[in-house]
């Protein structure tokens, strides 16, 4: 998102910006809050100046920017608890934030609120090699956790593209996935316990020491709740043993439909690869230009497939996968001969976003998920839509689980093009819903996808979400204006649709 951040840093909020709850906090309350925060925290942890708050004004989706009233950086769980109590007492909105790598403006600050930056709670508290679990503070980076347990032959499975920077707390808030979640699941499938602080400042532990707890699954509800229900202060995760062998192969196709069909056929044959990614022609060319790993630039689609397991298992699967790819018209298949070659095949995929950033001044990343069988149809339809807007779209995505990441290329310096890109993005998301999918597979709703929420959900469902939110946060102080649209917002949306 480098390109996007640099060129758009002074760009105004786009047209789809959702209404944000206006704080009911009085000026006197705000002054009291600031005074108490300054008493509570070290001077460097309470940031008031515009200049010093500037780095926090957006997350990874930099087109949405807002300076907070005040930024606080707690160092202990007690700090977090006290800050939440004060916000509750003085009725000041609060937005939690990790590393700010999110892609839905879920961590965009509130103009009249506190931005709670959790990155200083960054300790790995306990590693239990026997039970293969780790207990960490929310500010621990995703990759740092895997690095800390690699000598034990273990790793933490969810691996979002931002894993070098993103935090486990942020992963919990967004229910993050990654290239390996086809086989190993999302955050919700890999977290055993979460300790959170409620807006009243109470500590609640969800999940237990064992595998299942009696009663409603509050832990699953909390994971992916985008900072609307509470603030994570501790996470216990499951670790997995590293597979003895990993094999990567790549298949090229002369059409995206053929590649899409190959993916559906492979899964239908009972093979669940550790990862199964697809890139289209524009993405292949951009990646090859950037990293030069020998991708066939004439191909219309490329599949990158990773298999893992014991030697015998991998050999067995490799034969089936190669055969299946051939049967579905692969024009070439390349099997990595060693770890270096495997790394090279992955490198292009991993560098695809920055690579696309090189061929366009700006790009906008979408995140719809669709049934696997609809990949060919949806990709074709996306190209038609793009043409009608006069924009280009590159596709790099998790084909195995139908999670699309269309990258809309545009130039924000051209008047109106950002708005066009947004409209195209909205059309792509509603297309995903129309074919039986969802507007977001792993990036979250945040502020960005609020306009599409009433398209995916009926009023009764949205009202149920709001009642659930109120059960945790009756005054809607936690991350207001994100995730779940208000009743008024929905009414306006419906009247626009019918008008």
């Amino acid at each position: 998102m480098q390109a996007l951040q640099s060129s758009l840093s002074d760009h105004a909020l786009p047209i789809s910006s959702a209404p944000i709850r206006t704080s009911t906090a009085t000026a006197k309350n705000v002054a009291l809050l600031i005074h108490e925060l300054q008493q509570l925290l070290p001077a460097s942890s309470v940031i008031l100046s515009t200049e010093s708050q500037r780095p926090f004004e957006c997350d990874g989706l930099a087109v949405y920017q807002q300076l907070p009233l005040i930024t606080v950086i707690p160092e202990t769980v007690d700090h977090v608890q006290a800050i939440l109590r004060l916000c509750h007492l003085y009725q000041v909105p609060l937005v939690p934030r990790g590393a700010g790598t999110g892609l839905c403006a879920g961590a965009m600050p509130h103009a009249e609120g506190v931005l709670l930056v959790m990155t200083k709670l960054n300790k790995i508290l306990h590693i239990n090699a026997n039970a293969a679990t780790a207990t960490v503070q929310p500010g621990v980076r995703n990759l740092a956790l895997t690095e800390a347990v690699q000598d034990l032959g273990l790793y933490y499975a969810p691996d979002p593209s931002s894993q070098i920077a993103c935090t486990i707390g942020g992963n919990v808030a967004e229910n993050s996935g990654g290239v390996h979640c086809l086989k190993y699941g999302l955050t919700v499938n890999n977290v055993l316990q979460v300790k959170l602080i409620t807006i009243e400042g109470q500590l609640i532990t969800l999940g237990g020491e064992g595998l299942d707890e009696p009663g409603m699954d509050l832990l699953s509800l909390f994971i992916g709740s985008e900072g609307l229900l509470g603030v994570v202060v501790e996470v216990k995760v499951k670790l997995l043993p590293r597979a003895p062998r990993v094999q990567v192969l790549m298949a090229a196709y002369d059409s995206v439909t053929k590649a899409g069909d190959a993916v559906a056929a492979l899964i239908g044959q009972g093979i669940i690869p550790a990862g199964l990614e697809m890139m289209d022609h524009l993405a292949i060319s951009a990646a090859e230009d950037f990293v030069k790993v020998g991708y066939p630039t004439e191909a219309q689609a490329l599949l990158i497939c990773e298999l893992d397991g014991t030697d015998a298992e991998v050999e067995e699967q490799l034969a089936v996968v190669s055969e299946c790819f051939k049967e579905h018209g692969a024009t070439s298949i390349r099997i990595a001969k060693n770890a270096t070659e495997a790394q090279a095949l992955w490198q292009g995929r991993k560098a695809a976003f920055p690579a696309v950033g090189r061929i366009s001044p700006d790009y906008y990343c979408m995140d719809g998920t669709i049934p696997r069988g609809k990949v060919g149809y949806v990709l074709t339809r996306i190209q038609e839509l793009a043409l009608s807007y006069g924009l280009r779209v590159a596709n790099v995505f998790h084909a195995g689980d139908g999670n699309l990441h269309p990258l809309i290329l545009f130039d924000a310096s051209i008047d109106g093009q950002l708005e066009q890109a947004e409209l195209l993005g909205g059309d792509i998301l509603t297309l995903c819903v129309d074919v039986g999918g969802t507007i977001t597979g792993e990036h979250g709703v945040g502020l960005e996808k609020m306009p599409q929420m009433p398209y995916q959900f009926a009023d009764a469902e949205l009202a149920q979400f709001r009642r659930l939110k109120e059960a945790f946060d009756s005054e809607c102080l936690l991350n207001p204006g994100k995730g779940i649209p208000t009743l008024k917002y929905c009414q306006e949306y419906r009247s626009l649709q019918h008008g």
Partner: protein, 354 residues
């Protein structure tokens, strides 16, 4: 077979208007679990049928009253399976009840519980509103996860009308090995093997009739299972006998509880020492689940340890699940109220206060 959604909606709307307590029931195989409650039966057993199943999508959507046995038979035809291996309870268990009671089988530590495979569901809340949450796709983070919230709620947040479940390919080969060893030795062994990337799908230690055996089930591709069998050694169990063992374990009949006995279930870290749970007679889930069978007269009356549940038998009118913290109790009550303001749906099944 048919769609009874409208009828169920009307029944719940009427109960909401008249504040009548309802008891959701389909196969009635979970009556011995949770607390005993009274209420007018709302019958979901005829609300059945597979709504969509496309093997290449690895997803099935079925109405809540559809039997587990029916799903298992259907999926076997295309070499697929329900990943969480739910108990079929003599063929009567339904998919709706399985989700509500969060029932997963011996493969739980390796293939996850119900929530790990649940993609979406239809739900009628206590207002009598039919709603859809989640979906049929693999990844979906739009809105709160109301879908997985239902796992274990025992119908207290709504009547489940239909579910969509992620499937997995069937195993090509299954092999069960047994090893004679003490419970503590079995705990150590299970820990060790769990961390070795072996195709294990079940590890259970059972003491019965003077025998103390560790059962290890291997499932997966042919070569992977064969290699693991050579690596682990042990005695190989005949398929029919092995199948009967895992079935009995899954359906809770392995320990043959008598009427005067209470069956306790403990859930905790798999590496907890054996004496953490005194009088354990069976260890499942590689150590993460332990079972104690006691005369009801011995019942632990001093309040339940959080991780201990009075699974079957004993007094079912008092609390059967461990205590929760005061803030969490209040939170759960507010959530119950958010779905079911008059507390008409399966009230008191999990806790007396909910």
């Amino acid at each position: 077979m048919g769609d009874l959604t409208q009828q169920l909606v009307e029944q719940i709307q009427h109960a909401h208007a008249t504040k009548t307590a309802l008891n959701i029931q389909a196969g009635n195989t979970k009556a011995s679990l949770g607390r005993h409650t009274s209420g007018q039966v709302i019958d979901v057993s005829q609300h059945t049928g597979v709504l969509s199943y496309n093997p290449t999508e690895l997803v099935i959507t079925a109405r809540a009253g559809t039997k587990i046995e029916h799903l298992n038979d259907l999926l076997a035809q295309t070499q697929q399976r329900l990943p969480f291996e739910p108990p079929a309870f003599a063929g009567e268990a339904t998919i709706g009840g399985t989700v509500a009671a969060n029932q997963s089988g011996p493969s739980r530590p390796w293939f996850g519980s119900v929530k790990d495979s649940l993609l979406g569901l239809g739900l009628i809340n206590g207002y009598g509103q039919a709603m859809q949450f989640g979906g049929q796709v693999m990844k979906n983070v739009a809105g709160f996860d109301v879908t997985r919230l239902q796992c274990g709620a025992m119908g207290g947040l709504g009547l489940i009308t239909q579910v969509s479940i992620k499937l997995l390919p069937a195993f090509k080969l299954t092999q069960t090995l047994t090893f004679e060893m003490t419970a503590q030795a079995a705990l150590d062994t299970m820990q060790h093997w769990s961390n070795l990337s072996l195709p294990i799908t079940g590890m259970c230690h059972f003491q019965n009739k003077g025998q103390s055996l560790l059962y290890v089930r291997l499932q997966g591709g042919i070569s992977g299972v064969e290699d693991a069998q050579v690596f682990l050694g042990g005695e190989s169990l005949l398929p029919a006998k092995a199948d009967a063992f895992w079935q009995a374990l899954n359906q809770g009949t392995l320990m043959q509880r008598q009427d005067h006995q209470t069956l306790w279930c403990w859930g905790g870290p798999s590496d907890a020492p054996f004496d953490r749970v005194p009088n354990t007679c069976m260890i499942n889930w590689a150590g993460a689940q332990r079972w104690v069978l006691e005369d009801t007269s011995n019942t632990r009356s001093q309040g339940l340890e959080k991780s201990l549940c009075q699974y079957q038998g004993g007094n079912r009118l008092g609390e059967v699940n461990g205590t929760v913290s005061v803030p969490q109790k209040a939170l759960q009550q507010r959530i119950k109220h958010a779905f079911d303001p008059h507390s008409i749906l399966n009230a008191g099944r999990v806790y007396s206060w909910m």
